[in-house]
């Protein structure tokens, strides 16, 4: 069974808390630095779903944001402002760490009492939130 060292646990804990903090503050630049690019774009799509629903132009812009940096900047500016206005806060409590391979960890935690988990993967020695890293690998 793989073990996760204390230093890694500290890094992942800090990253999880920063994830929620940046979302609450609307600091998407910092949020992007915590996540893999693919996961960050997935999250932007989820966060932008409400605006996409009401605004076709925004929907088209967010669809282009993966390949077009100008579109990404527009989306980030709009969503950053939305998030900062909402200022949503959650009670986060760590539960456990689960190794899913030497370069993958699932962090189990609770958000306002609800059971949650978040996936991390390591690339070039850096741990990032990676929504696609939930699968156990060798």
């Amino acid at each position: 069974m793989q073990t996760i060292n204390t230093q890694t646990k500290e890094i992942l804990t800090k990253s999880l808390l920063s994830y929620y903090e940046t979302l609450s503050e609307g600091d998407l630049k910092k949020l992007a630095s915590l996540m893999t690019k693919e996961s960050y774009l997935t999250l932007l799509n989820a966060l932008g779903f409400k605006r996409s629903f009401k605004d076709k132009t925004f929907q088209q812009t967010i669809e282009k944001s993966g390949e077009d940096s100008a579109s990404l900047e527009i989306v980030e500016a709009v969503l950053s402002s939305d998030l900062a206005k909402k200022e949503e806060r959650h009670e986060i409590a760590l539960v456990s760490f689960e190794a899913k391979g030497s370069q993958r960890v699932t962090v189990h935690y609770s958000e306002d009492g609800h059971s949650k988990k978040i996936y991390f993967s390591a690339a070039s020695g850096t741990w990032k939130i990676d929504y696609n890293a939930g699968r156990k690998v060798a």
Binding site: K50, S52, K116, K117, Y119, Y131, R135
Partner: protein, 197 residues
């Protein structure tokens, strides 16, 4: 950017003419449980690590659509489209699960049960965000709820198209069936929107 074309949609429906149950059955017949080793059928080819990750993600995502339709269906019981499509979404989810298992992906820690406690609860943050937003938007009115269904299907189709890139034939067959099902759902929601307008 990927676009949805009507002719493509018709082609899928015409060529496949299959529902999600057929997809699941085919997948089971094709070698369920063989992903761990010796029992693999000839249809199953090797996937890259990235493709396996995407497969697992698609499976987890299927729960969002199902739970949104269950919840909106309860809010608007007069709208039968939700009831019909939530059953189909359940089948989509099972088809994706079968595909995961076929490739040796352990899905046991994903709660897909239909208990009241499980519906609308997502362990992954981005999926909870998506679900909550859909319910918030759909709670405004019956018409808005149906419109949510339309956007969920459009999003699902786009996601499957992206996930399909580079996948081998057996995965594509399941994905194509899921997509054909989504196009049918899209039609149903658009018909409901027209009826309510």
């Amino acid at each position: 950017m990927k676009t949805i074309k009507d002719n493509k949609r018709r082609d899928f429906i015409k060529v496949l003419g299959l529902g999600a149950i057929a997809t699941a059955t085919t997948a089971i017949a094709g070698g369920r449980g063989g992903g761990q080793g010796g029992g693999r059928s000839k249809q199953v080819t090797e996937l890259t690590e990235h493709q396996l990750d995407e497969l697992f993600h698609i499976f987890q995502e299927e729960k969002v659509a199902r739970d949104v339709y269950i919840t909106l269906g309860r809010q608007y019981p007069e709208e039968k489209t939700f009831a019909k499509i939530q059953l189909s979404e359940q089948e989509h989810m099972l088809a994706a699960q079968v595909l995961c298992e076929r490739y040796g992906i352990d899905t046991s820690d994903v709660d897909i049960s239909l208990t009241d406690d499980a519906i609308g609860q997502f362990e992954l943050h981005e999926m909870q965000v998506l679900y909550n937003t859909c319910i918030e938007l759909g709670s405004v009115s019956h018409f808005e709820a149906v419109k949510v269904g339309e956007l969920v299907e459009i999003t699902d189709i786009k996601d499957i198209e992206i996930a399909s890139e580079g996948m081998p034939a057996d995965v594509l067959r399941t994905y194509d069936n899921l997509k054909a099902g989504s196009y049918e759902h899209l039609d149903a929601y658009r018909n409901a929107m027209a009826r309510l307008s």
